[in-house]
Amino acid sequence: MYLIEARDLTREYSHGRMTVPALTGVDLDVEAGEFTAIAGPSGSGKTTLLNLIGCLDRPTRGRLIIDGDDVSSYTPSMLSGLRREKIGFVFQTYNLIPVLTAYENVELPLVLLGGGTRSETRGRVMSMLSEVGLAGLENRRPMDLSGGQQQRVAIARALVKQPRLVLADEPTANLDSENSEAILALMKTLNETMGATFLFSSHDPLVIGYARRLVRMRDGKIALDERR
């Protein structure tokens, strides 16, 4: 069974009387534990595909099955629940909550999940921060961290709840090459040690080079799908 099964996934945007297709009839299967890059030029539909798989957006047409559940007919509340439990996100602009410390940003997904005791939560957050190399910086706010450190916090936040799937939209686009490489290495290590499935978009050859599978997109369609 695939973790993600997308069939004829189509997304069109309406601008007045015009309808602009962003994604057209995409079929994609992703197995659990994969480390997949979605590459392509700007406007090729990478972010749209990630948004649909991440249940942040709804397809105009087609079916999407995540972890065995057809989410096409899910209500907004059910989609929130799915995101809360099974999906972690990493964005180009980090999107950390500015008023929260690094610790609190990583703690937030666990708070939303509920269930754990305070000491359990603290243990998981501190261990995750340590995994991404931020031990000792847990009390800093995002504005007091470098771009690379902020992205590490974002990765820790995405992984702390041990999701089935991590979606990363251009995760290194705002970083220099040294930091980019460090982040990619970290993601790959976490993919191997934690078993989380990574699906990330990029048009950076360095990023693409790290992927074990490359899905290349053009004009809203998959132009190439190769495993390495």
Partner: protein, 421 residues
């Protein structure tokens, strides 16, 4: 989870601390105005009731004509009680009565040299009157009246206008029951400056027998005033009802006479309902200020945090969670506003309860007659119920006002929000 949300709310409020403080201050000012305004009006009401009882009517009064007529009429056989002194003594002996005193009130002109001033002459029993009224306690110069003397005690304002001092002579010109003009020369024995402006501005007190002789109404009184032995300074209608029923049982009672309570003379009680209207208008103002302040603050907050809202939704917060986040911020603003407002209201009210508000600051040296029997200074009262109401309304309105911008934020499309720069 609640602990995290509370911390998150506090941090977001601190992040926009200037806006938070401005919104909270607006709510606080509204609450303070409402509480202080209500306190001053309640204080004015209380003082007016006390002054009416202490200087105008006593708790009850018996008259020969029904109801209260503000205009002072020339005494006639129809509007006066014969043997007023005897009736007052009979009433004074009833249980529950602290004192009873007859008064004969009539219009007159005071003449001092070339100056002439229309006044109300109040004929009083100098010994019985202080058992009902407190005029004699406010002698500002000279002394109070003595029985049988040809003297007059003037309201302070009258004495000032006619430039009279104790020891001076003044002529009282009036009309007898038979419409004949009568002029009597009296020695000014004292002046009074009371908390009741009407007494100071238009009343001249003379011994009852001198008054009766001036208008040719021997033994008569226009009214008999009664002070009850009530526990409360401002006795209620219910407290006075049994006494009001026992007076007409007296053997000397004439069925044409009427027993009135002080409330019937208190025309300002109608101002009480106006007061309530004003209080409601002010409360409405608190509501409007809170709504505008909170809606503005929360709406701006949601507009500035669109990406953050998108991220929170991506992490799995649903519409209810996002709504709760912003409603808690609205509630926080309300709470802060109420806390500041309560502190300001307590401080402001403490000032007005102890120092009061001088009306002279608004009207200068003009004659103070605003149709309200209070002195030139309004005092506040402590009314904790009003304060609790103001806090409850401020908080409830802040929570309700934050609901709509919060719902708007909760309905944002997550993908769209995350794209926003």
């Amino acid at each position: 989870m609640l602990r995290f949300y509370l911390g998150f709310t506090a941090k977001n409020m601190w992040r926009r601390r200037r806006r938070t403080l401005l919104t909270a201050a607006a709510i606080a000012v509204g609450i303070m105005y409402f509480v202080v305004f209500d306190s001053l009006l309640a204080g004015a009401d209380r003082d007016a009731q006390i002054n009416t009882i202490d200087f105008e009517t006593g708790h009850l009064w018996v008259s020969a004509s029904a109801g209260s007529d503000d205009a002072v009429a020339r005494p006639t056989a129809e509007n006066t009680i014969p043997s007023g002194q005897a009736l007052a003594q009979a009433i004074a002996e009833l249980s529950g009565v602290a004192g009873a005193a007859p008064r004969l009130v009539f219009p007159a002109s005071l003449i001092a040299g070339l100056d002439e001033l229309p006044v109300s002459v109040v004929g009083v029993d100098p010994e019985a009157d202080p058992q009902v009224f407190r005029v004699s306690q406010f002698v500002s110069s000279g002394r109070w009246l003595e029985r049988g003397e040809e003297g007059v005690v003037l309201g302070r304002r009258i004495a000032d206008l006619l430039q009279l001092e104790p020891g001076d002579l003044v002529t009282v010109r009036t009309q007898t029951a038979g419409l004949a003009f009568q002029a009597v020369d009296l020695a000014v024995v004292g002046t009074v400056e009371t908390p009741h402006p009407t007494v100071n501005q238009s009343q001249a007190f003379v011994p009852l027998d001198a008054a009766q002789s001036a208008v040719g109404a021997p033994g008569r009184a226009t009214s008999i005033h009664v002070r009850a032995r009530a526990a409360a300074q401002v006795a209620s209608q219910r407290d006075l009802s049994s006494l009001a029923k026992s007076i007409p049982m007296l053997a000397c009672w004439d069925p044409g006479w009427h027993v009135n309570t002080w409330q019937e003379a208190a025309s300002f009680l109608t101002i009480g309902s106006t007061k309530r209207t004003f209080a409601m208008i002010l409360l409405g103002l608190v509501v409007v200020i809170s709504v505008i302040g909170v809606v503005n603050s929360i709406l701006l907050s949601t507009l500035e945090r669109v990406r953050e809202i998108g991220m929170l939704k991506a992490m799995g917060m649903d519409e209810r969670d996002i709504t709760a986040v912003f409603i808690m911020e609205g509630g926080g603003l309300g709470l802060l506003g109420c806390a500041l407002g309560t502190a300001a209201a307590i401080a402001g009210n403490a000032y007005f309860v102890n120092v009061g508000l001088s009306l002279r600051a608004f009207i200068g040296d003009m004659d103070l007659d605003i149709g309200y029997p209070i002195a030139d200074r309004m005092y506040g009262v402590w009314n904790w119920t009003t304060m609790l109401w103001a806090i409850a309304v401020g908080l409830a309105v802040a929570l309700a006002a934050s609901y709509f911008p919060a719902r708007r934020a909760a309905r944002l499309d997550p993908a769209e929000s995350l794209r926003r720069l």
